[in-house]
């Protein structure tokens, strides 16, 4: 078999950012799979040096326009821990509330506008709207509910301005938040409907025994705080991350690959959170998940779309719960006095844990910064999924194989937008 076939899709659509993928088949055997991310040439960790600790949330927000709160919350948490400051409970809940807004807008964007078109055979949401306008309108309104939380609390949807180390610049009044309740109540029904819709899709038959990694916080579905836990029994403070996880430079790519020591590839994001924190979901979210055919653990990455919809429902309900008991805090922030040392922060970005470490001098200037975004951690897992997906489907024509591979990548909602990357898809058959 010396026949060589090559397929290229020069730019993978409907992901946040650009990267490259390569599948090489020789003599009918899968030889190599690569999901490449070209590391951002924006050098955030370098440009943070010499900035004040208070500037980190606004600067790191610019790593990602889709999940700025994740970066703001992780960096702020690192600084607060370093300063030895704990948020007051109402301020902590306000953080969780704005984070719920980000989960809603980001998840709905991915579920309906980026991922669902794969399942229904459309190029995108605008094309889908020609036939299913009701569905796209429902999604846009639901997404807007999340964005409204971001706007009312944070000041705007992308790169919110009202967020600082120690809390917020201004706490919203109870009346301002209560105005959001009717729309959130509508959103609860809409999210239930969304779970039903995506639960009824047909999923490629594929499962893998992932090692899941997520934050865990007793009594709540961890979002803005928690210890780092894994399905292999890991349970550590966020400051211990680097003792258990390593990043290695892979020669063929500019990206760093993360691995859990003694384990290798691991998975962060919706499937991991769902598996590790299922018990903490609300009864309603559990019921919706069950109705959509999910067990307490989901190992089919193509069903991540259902888990995202379940988490959207949870985030809407959680937002309603927080608003119902909200009393405006007397102070929007706790003052933080810097000191020399190292601080760590980790929160659950929509795509998985977003880990930060900063070293400060005594005046509060940043000496060193390290940021590990969720997609970097999932990179190995994405490649391993591609191997599994391709190996079972070598008989497919190139075009269909390309489609299922792209879909397998989109399962992760990869957020490689942190900078300019270039994504190409090619299958080489030799």
């Amino acid at each position: 078999m010396s026949e060589t076939r090559e397929i290229r899709t020069d730019y993978l659509a409907r992901v946040e950012g650009e990267g490259a993928m390569l599948v090489r088949v020789r003599g009918g055997e899968l030889e190599e799979v690569q999901f490449k991310i070209f590391e951002p040439p924006r050098f955030f960790e370098a440009l943070l040096r010499g900035r004040r600790f208070t500037e980190a949330p606004d600067i790191t927000a610019r790593i990602c326009g889709i999940c700025p709160i994740a970066y703001m919350a992780s960096s702020a948490q690192a600084m607060e821990r370093l300063c030895g400051v704990e948020l007051t409970e109402p301020v902590r809940l306000l953080r969780r509330l704005v984070y719920c807004g980000e989960w809603i807008e980001s998840h709905v964007l991915h579920v309906v506008m980026l991922h669902l078109p794969d399942f229904l055979g459309y190029d995108g949401a605008v094309e889908l709207a020609r036939d299913r306008r009701d569905l796209v309108e429902l999604a846009l309104r639901l997404k807007k509910t999340g964005n409204e939380l971001m706007r009312v609390i944070g000041g705007r949807e992308v790169h919110p301005v009202n967020f600082r180390v120690g809390g917020f610049y201004r706490a919203p009044t109870a009346a301002e938040l209560r105005e959001l309740v009717p729309e959130l109540e509508w959103a609860r029904e809409a999210a239930r409907e969304l779970v039903r819709i995506v639960g009824a899709l047909e999923f490629p038959d594929y499962e893998r025994d992932y090692v899941f990694v997520a934050l865990r916080q007793p009594g709540e579905y961890a979002i803005e705080r928690g210890r780092i836990a894994s399905s292999t029994g890991l349970d550590i403070d966020v400051s211990e991350y680097e003792r258990h996880f390593t990043e290695t430079h892979v020669a063929r790519s500019n990206a760093l690959h993360s691995s859990l020591d003694g384990v290798g590839a691991y998975l962060v994001g919706p499937l991991a959170r769902y598996a590790l924190n299922y018990e903490e979901l609300s009864d309603e979210a559990k019921a919706a998940a069950e109705e959509a055919g999910l067990g307490q653990v989901c190992r089919n990455p193509f069903q991540s779309i259902v888990v995202r919809a379940v988490e959207t429902l949870y985030a809407v309900e959680e937002a309603l719960r927080i608003i119902a008991s909200y009393e405006r805090p007397s102070e929007p922030a706790v003052e933080c006095a810097p000191r020399a040392g190292t601080g760590h922060g980790c929160t659950e970005a929509p795509r998985g844990i977003c880990w930060h470490r900063y070293a400060l001098d005594a005046e509060g200037f940043i000496l060193d910064a390290k940021i590990v975004p969720p997609t970097a951690q999932n990179q190995r897992s994405i490649e391993e999924d591609l191997v599994g997906v391709v190996r079972d489907r070598l008989e497919l024509p190139d075009e269909e194989l390309a489609h299922v591979c792209e879909q397998a990548i989109r399962n992760y909602d990869p957020c490689i937008s942190c900078a300019t990357h270039f994504l190409r898809f090619e299958v080489i058959r030799e």
Partner: protein, 260 residues
């Protein structure tokens, strides 16, 4: 370029950026489907796999130029575009990644941007206008939703969009927000920053941090004086000017002056 009866073709391009400005397009939840009906979304990979060949009536360009390859690509895009609109601080001024432009010894050298050939694309992050003719610039980190909707609808109706070039102070007055600098003694970049955001920072009790970049003819000396009177060190003002629009000429020159 548009034949009679056919819809204008829109393309959305990405260079070094966070995707937040093109996301703003998808965040126009109330207007998105109506806008999509008025035009053909011919190229917008973040939103659709569909791809229609150029030429395009309007190209929205996000991100700054940071690689030699991108410096080539922007010329190809310009050639295919009747109107080219930059969206956001990266495309319009070089973005936060342009902080590399003032790193090390370069801090002391006034950079000349008039000649694209002079620029080493590996060492600098530059706005689109340093490379090709730009027809309209939308400011902001991120851009404002209402300015985006105004721009798209103006271009669809073949009129000039109304984008004010006044300062954030004007928006604070319109909004009825008491001046944070005067009333609270909070350092604020509002007097030198272009409006468009809706003056949200002062409304939330903090000073403007200049994410829309310098207004037309800003009085940087007066601002520096005011900040000094509020007890701000020069180094702190320099950092305030060196964020998302560090490479915008007025902010770049003022911060260079202050470090001299």
């Amino acid at each position: 370029m548009t034949s009679v009866g056919s819809k204008p073709k829109l393309a959305v391009w990405k260079f070094a950026s966070c995707d937040g400005c093109q996301l703003t397009f998808l965040d126009c939840e109330d207007e998105l489907l109506a806008m999509a009906e008025g035009m053909e979304i011919a190229y917008f990979p973040e939103a659709t796999s569909a791809e229609v060949e150029g030429p395009y009536d309007v190209s929205l360009v996000e991100g700054s130029i940071t690689t030699a390859h991108d410096a080539e690509r922007i010329h190809e895009i310009r050639e295919q575009s009747r109107l080219l609109v930059t969206i956001g601080a990266c495309a319009t001024s070089g973005g936060i990644q342009a902080l590399r432009n003032v790193a090390d010894v370069r801090e002391w050298i006034p950079l000349v941007y008039a000649t694209p050939g002079f620029i080493s694309t590996l060492e600098t992050s530059t706005p689109i206008a340093d490379h090709v003719q730009v027809d309209l610039e939308l400011r902001g980190c991120p851009i404002s939703k209402s300015q985006l909707v105004e721009t798209v609808s103006a271009l669809l109706n073949a009129r000039r969009p109304r984008i004010p070039t006044t300062s954030v102070c004007v928006e604070c007055k319109a909004r009825g927000t008491p001046c944070v600098a005067v009333a609270e003694g909070t350092p604020c970049l509002g007097p030198v920053t272009q409006s468009g955001c809706g003056a949200i920072c002062p409304a939330y009790g903090r000073g403007c941090y200049g994410c829309f970049g310098p207004m037309e003819s800003p009085n940087m000396a007066a601002l520096a004086r005011q900040w000094r009177e509020l007890g701000v060190e020069n180094a702190d003002l320099v950092r305030a000017l060196r964020t998302f629009n560090a490479n915008a000429p007025a902010f770049r020159d003022a911060s260079a002056e202050l470090t001299r």
